[in-house]
Subunit: 221 residues, 2 copies
């Protein structure tokens, strides 16, 4: 698998950042694609750019803010209040952006086709199953089948963390010496991680389960 | 199937316009979605708007010009020369926009989800198989399978003309009394249809095979 051109969907969060380091570690020829879809937490995008610079990989940033109005006016892009609490709570459904992953992966496939890359990787994982329909294994399987048919030759979708929990990804990041300070998770766009929203709670849990301290700073409670 | 809410992907070309009339004829509760992806032939979009107005159906226009740069810089959106000749010629491959149909249908699905619509219809048909990978039956089957998994409840993709030829669609349009004057096909964005590009050639053939005259005006040869 070494040297194989692979386009990684890199948001700048923990999952996709660890995935990028993992593929670099495996000797892949890595390219990154990041999306600006009008999310409040654009610190994610800044983190993605830092990771690409550090690893010396080309990054394509795609502005999809124009299409955000056809997705849910969810807490992530609208003016609604970002819910606090655990990810798996019902209130977190307001953070679902309709069909987001399928749209992003399909855009990534289009870019891959133009760059003569036939592998697209993303960091879907088990912890998101409960609330995001497009992170479930059956969705990823259907996406893989579609990817085999969208072009004259197949595009291969890789989602190696699909059955992992968040803490497994953090563990892998520790092994790979990923600088977690270069990742952003908080859904609120403040200067520091809030420590209260679903993704902050999940992040804190994952570090705690690995018995290490998260290097990012959190707002005082 | 009557009264069932259905979102039709309406470009303003013959195929999707006939499809829209077909669904109205069947008593469906039709909604239309049209995409502006920076194509030269934006007369298509004007035609789509006219059809929606005449039929009294709501139309959503989505501006996706920002994402066109990640697709091929093809003849349809770039500054390349629009090839002339028959659709099935190799030169027509330059009119392929990478992964276009999958992106558009996935965006349509996102809009459908926000509008509580669970059926998305588009007018893929047999005549396009030769050059567009994402018009082939196996692609549509894979897309249907994906659509069943993108949301909490399935989205149904309908492509009733999939095995039809262009002339079959024109025949159906004649039966439904579709005003073909409200459709646009030419890939060149001139005032009149050029009569020479792949889609004009295909259009002229389809009318000829039905022994009727195309009501749109063509540029003098």
């Amino acid at each position: 698998m070494n040297d194989i051109k692979t386009l990684v969907v890199l948001s700048g969060g923990i999952d996709s950042t660890v995935l990028t380091y993992d593929y670099i570690n495996a000797g892949r020829d890595v390219y990154a694609i990041s999306f600006d879809y009008g999310q409040r937490h654009n610190k994610e995008l800044e983190c993605a750019a830092i990771t690409c610079e550090k690893l010396g990989i080309p990054q394509k940033i795609v502005d999809i803010t124009e299409i955000k109005d056809i997705m849910y006016s969810s807490a992530l892009t609208g003016n609604g209040t970002v819910p606090e609490g655990h990810y798996e709570d019902a209130s977190m459904k307001s953070t679902v952006v309709a069909n987001r992953n399928s749209i992003l992966i399909n855009l990534a496939m289009a870019y891959a086709i133009t760059q003569d890359i036939n592998r697209v990787a993303y960091a879907a994982h088990g912890g998101d199953h409960a609330i995001y329909p497009d992170c479930r294994p059956e969705f990823v399987l259907a996406l893989k089948a579609l990817a085999a048919k969208v072009h004259y030759t197949p595009i291969y979708i890789e989602a190696p963390y699909l059955m992992w929990r968040k803490e497994d990804i953090v563990k892998r990041g520790i092994e790979l010496k990923v600088p977690f300070i270069d990742t952003w998770s908080c859904y609120k766009g403040d200067k520091l991680h809030c420590g209260k929203c679903g993704t902050c709670v999940e992040r804190l849990e994952a570090f705690k389960l690995n018995n290490i301290k998260d290097p990012v700073k959190y707002a005082k409670k």
